[in-house]
Symmetry: C2
Subunit: 662 residues, 2 copies
């Protein structure tokens, strides 16, 4: 039986007719309305609540809704099905703003000193001048082109796809049999698992009329698909220079904030396709944006001029991009379909680069240690370190690698996206308007803060949250368990809808006109995130019998990591308490590794080696992880002996302010 649903949203109305038992989220989708589902439609986050104003529905689950909510007509759109004609009001949705790169997202990056085009590069351009056909030489176009490649450039037996073959005839004739060929040479071990290992293969990527200036740019891009943020660098493969850096939220975010929610969503009917399109859509819009950033005397740069792309990202992100079912990643024994994806083209995965562009999805190690980590290990230099080094990737997932040039072990823990600003009421990414550092006066409990870009604050980014947590703890606004001290004498401390909260900025000072606060729930999320990361690397070190103190360096990756105040990060127990000189903050190590691999086939081979060398330790099979996690759920930790500098800071808090400078 069919029913008519009328949605009211954003002061507009839309109607749709669907059969009995259709989910409200699906019906809304058909009506052209997108209801955000941060938990991936599991009915866990409560953020897809809508109000049924007319007619009846069947609620499969009402988790996160109070009896009063239900009384009023509220229902979880992802858990409610249609049983008759209904009218539904969709409250204003939490907006996932597409905040694009600012100076904060742009990394300093220099072309590796040993980069030499075309020797290190797998893609190159060659000029060809063919003998035109005649009645005495009726050789077919493709054979003629191959002969020219062989005689003029010693390029033997290139392959050519059918769509490219369709255009070679007209291209050859366009500028009197003068053409520029773009050629890819795959080195033996580029794709050890999918290519025969005893030969190189040569592929024609494109054929352009005339002789293209050999110093003009040849475009490639390095991409990092983070669970929260996608980063893209547009690179001129001739000079090796990064010409544009852009980043944007992963379009999948509306369908789950962590990898588990995404996998669950992908498993629903059509969900996998939707997530694949969402992330390729994000990449395509970033490509467009990056191209627009570049002004060349020769004219515009367009995405289809990109002839090579290298992609890093965690294993789930890679599966979802490729449209490979990811369900086995989530279920014991946590096995992905593929760690070393085969070589693909832009056409294969729906990117708006040249359809024949080589798209190189870097290899990962396991379900929870992906190509973002192997790329990060390369770009951080861990794999060639002499002394034992710890590499932390602080993102939505917390991955840790310990080792040196001789050995590498790794583990993963689900930190959640709290430090990327998700799961925190006033959280946001480190862009314009984000509070990036906070100081709290120990006497008055009044805060001082610094805003990126200097204007009115919009929210708090990762480094601001660490700083806030640390200051609030040191000044007693919250206790070691994260509880807000409601008896503190300050109007900034108050009981909110989600328990105790602290007001960082009054509405009068903020961009939106509403208070910026941190709530008890936010604090819990942050504590779980930092505890997971801390537990991860301590258990890893224990596992291989390396005392943390003996670690020579701690390399911190993750785009927000670059701006962490070490002292504060130690004070909340996110980083181990050791001499600050031993920390290095590297920013987005994943995209940087992808960039190195894009440029140089030897670096690309090195990533395959890293993936093979790394020993993965499964924490879920390890009781000690849960213990370590529980112990780390406090500020800074249950065992204060591990944090001597924090003990000292606490004892000196009576003196007022602590030092704020890194």
């Amino acid at each position: 039986m069919n029913h008519t649903l009328t949605f009211t949203h954003d002061e507009k109305q839309a109607s749709v007719t669907v059969p009995t038992n259709t989910l409200l989220t699906d019906a809304a989708h058909l009506a052209g309305i997108d209801i955000t589902q941060p938990c991936g439609g599991q009915g866990r986050c409560g953020r897809c609540a809508v109000m049924v104003t007319e007619g009846t529905v069947r609620r499969r689950s009402t988790l996160r809704l109070s009896p009063a909510d239900i009384e009023q007509g509220y229902a979880l759109a992802c858990q409610t099905v249609v049983e008759g004609d209904v009218e539904i009001f969709i409250p204003p949705q939490e907006k996932i703003e597409r905040r694009l790169t600012t100076d904060r997202v742009v990394a300093e990056v220099t072309v590796p000193a040993d980069y030499e085009y075309p020797f290190a590069q797998t893609v190159r351009r060659v000029h060809l001048t063919l003998t035109p056909p005649s009645m005495d030489d009726q050789t077919d176009d493709w054979s003629r082109l191959q002969t020219a490649l062989r005689l003029q450039h010693r390029i033997e037996n290139p392959t050519c796809s059918l769509p490219l073959l369709r255009k070679i005839g007209s291209t050859l004739r366009q500028d009197d049999w003068r053409v520029t060929a773009i050629i890819e040479t795959s080195r033996p071990s580029d794709h050890a698992t999918t290519r025969p290992s005893d030969h190189t293969t040569i592929r024609l990527i494109d054929l352009l009329p005339g002789h293209v200036d050999e110093y003009s740019p040849l475009w490639g891009c390095a991409i990092d698909i983070g669970t929260t943020t996608v980063t893209l660098w547009l690179v001129d493969l001739v000079t090796g220079q990064v010409r544009a850096q852009v980043a944007e939220y992963n379009g999948q975010i509306a369908r789950g904030e962590d990898v588990i929610s995404r996998i669950i969503y992908a498993n629903k009917n059509g969900g996998g396709d939707e997530l694949r399109q969402r992330v390729s859509g994000t990449i395509n819009s970033l490509l467009e944006l990056a191209c627009k950033r570049i002004k060349l005397p020769q004219g515009k740069v367009t995405p289809d001029q990109v002839v090579k792309a290298t992609i890093a990202g965690n294993t789930t992100m890679m599966h979802l991009l490729l449209g490979i079912p990811a369900s086995s990643i989530r279920l014991s024994p946590f096995v992905p379909t593929v760690n070393h994806p085969p070589m693909m083209t832009g056409r294969d995965i729906g990117l708006n680069v040249n359809p024949e562009a080589a798209v190189d999805c870097l290899p990962g190690v396991a379900s929870y240690v992906g190509a973002d980590i192997t790329a990060g290990v390369l770009s951080s230099g861990l794999d060639s370190a002499e002394n034992v080094t710890l590499f932390l990737d602080v993102g939505t997932n917390g991955e840790t690698v310990l080792g040196n040039r001789d050995w590498l072990v790794t583990c993963a823990c689900s930190a959640g996206p709290a430090f990327e600003g998700a799961g925190v009421v006033n959280g946001m990414r480190a862009t314009q308007g984000a509070i990036e550092e906070i100081w709290i006066n120990g006497e008055t409990l009044e805060p001082t803060y610094r805003v990126i870009g200097g204007g009115k604050p919009k929210g708090i980014c990762g480094s601001g949250l660490i700083s806030l947590l640390s200051e609030a703890f040191i000044t007693g606004v919250i206790d070691k368990g994260g509880n807000v001290n409601l008896s503190a004498r300050s109007p900034r401390v108050r009981e909110g809808a989600h328990g105790g909260e602290y007001v960082v900025a009054w509405g009068a000072e903020t961009e939106s006109g509403e208070d910026i606060v941190i709530t008890r729930v936010d604090i819990d999320n942050l504590l779980r995130a930092k505890a997971a990361i801390y537990a991860g690397f301590t258990v890893l070190a224990e596992n291989v019998g390396i005392p943390l103190e003996t670690v020579d360096k701690v390399l911190v990756g993750g785009s927000f990591g670059k701006y962490i105040n070490v002292e504060k990060a130690v004070q909340i127990g996110l980083l181990p308490d050791m001499d600050w000189s031993r920390f290095e903050f590297l920013g987005n190590t994943s995209v940087k590794g992808a960039y190195y691999a894009l440029l140089d086939w030897r670096k690309r081979e090195r990533i395959t080696e890293i993936a093979k060398r790394m020993t993965y330790i499964e924490l879920s099979a390890d009781n000690s992880f849960y213990e370590a996690f529980t112990s780390a759920l406090f500020l800074p930790h249950t065992d204060l002996s591990k944090f001597p500098s924090v003990v000292e800071a606490l004892s000196s808090k009576i003196e007022g302010r602590t030092s704020f400078d890194r």
Copy 2:
């Protein structure tokens, strides 16, 4: 500006609104009416004439229309554009019936004695039993599968496409990690021009749950794309047996009856795509039909079970199938884009076989000597003949190969589709209802005929036309120039709409109730076709200095060829006048060659060698061809000394009937 067109066709009406200057054929297409364009829309055949009953149009060309026709409102739909609102009557269209295989199309074929699966076959099935993953072995699915292939079958480094990779996870888990893999091994020189030649490549074509019975069929198909007819053989690769044979008119016929018209049509906006879809549509419907013919105890056979296809066809047909522009084939110096198409998959060219099925488009020699001829040379055995042998492929194009196991020369001439029943008013293919042989009484000029299937006649097929032409000539119904002798005393000889004509069957005897005739125009078409073929092989023989009389054997390919009466074919000057024992009629040598190549990689290599060995002689650059053609436009020839047996028959015609038996 937009105008409304109303079409009346087949007692139905359809309207469409189109801008000024839209062609009537395009407008009709939009209205869902398909106007046949046998000349490909060049305005040459006049068969798309429609009547404008209201409003005005602009006629770009009125070739084939008389002033009286135009007065009445007739216009060529392919040459007329809209300039205002109009009403158009489309006369009943010449029907291109989809006559499917009868016993006449089914060839006798035996599995080659040396066929041994899987040794000769590039595709095979292997059973695998994998160790399931566990917390102690978290290897990814694809690596696990590769390990099993290596350890259990020594299959190293297979490649796997992304769409296949997407399903391996669930397939592996479906029957407890027991699977059947379908594997293709490409031998070194299979695709010499597109694959590196120093190694074999291994590709995963499909993965099925459980262990499939190793004696159950593994399906492949051999396809011949003729300009007029497409033939498909469905083959069990395990036994090598042809299990179904089907044939159908090439769906492109409505867009041109010969390759030149098709190339012109393909060059129009969207024409190439349309022709590509028309021929792949024909193949897909043949596939469907062939599958339905097979009943197995295991259940139905479906097209997607076909894991390998081998395709032969002339160079234009191959380009049009692959969607490669064919325009350079038509223009001097007559160069195709590709003679050796690279390896493709079912997905690449839109066939409903398994999307990963290897689709092997056989190599051709030149623009007018394609893979149908290389396959024909293989299956006819010419390439291993000890003595000099002539191979004729009598189809829409007339190709000739002369040679033996040491050398091969070839040429092509455009014979046209007259012997396939096209371009002849009552022509039809050799199926149910076709008159296949005719005798004319020398006294009464009354005919006797034999109909395929024995019922009422519907038309005349190729062998019937040869027989009719010969009998009419010998009995004086027509003279050596092909003119109908209107002074002959018989009601069957009369003046028709197209000049003189001879009535083969009165309406009372025929299926349609209308007279079956042969007209002056038909005779001209037949004379041109036979003259082109005769001129082709005589010029070829002259070119290499081999007197025709010294040719040891004449092998005749082409599906209609099988039923030619040699005597009659010699009498009209289609075949050279030599001892009948030297002729062999082989039927569709092209599909047979494709079948051999499908089965055995050594045969497939042999075709590549044949293509390389053949020397192509361009007749259009040869004045002697035109001379030879003109001399052969008579019955049997201007030079009667070349046809002593015909001279003898003519001299004995006074005695009445000639011998009819072959």
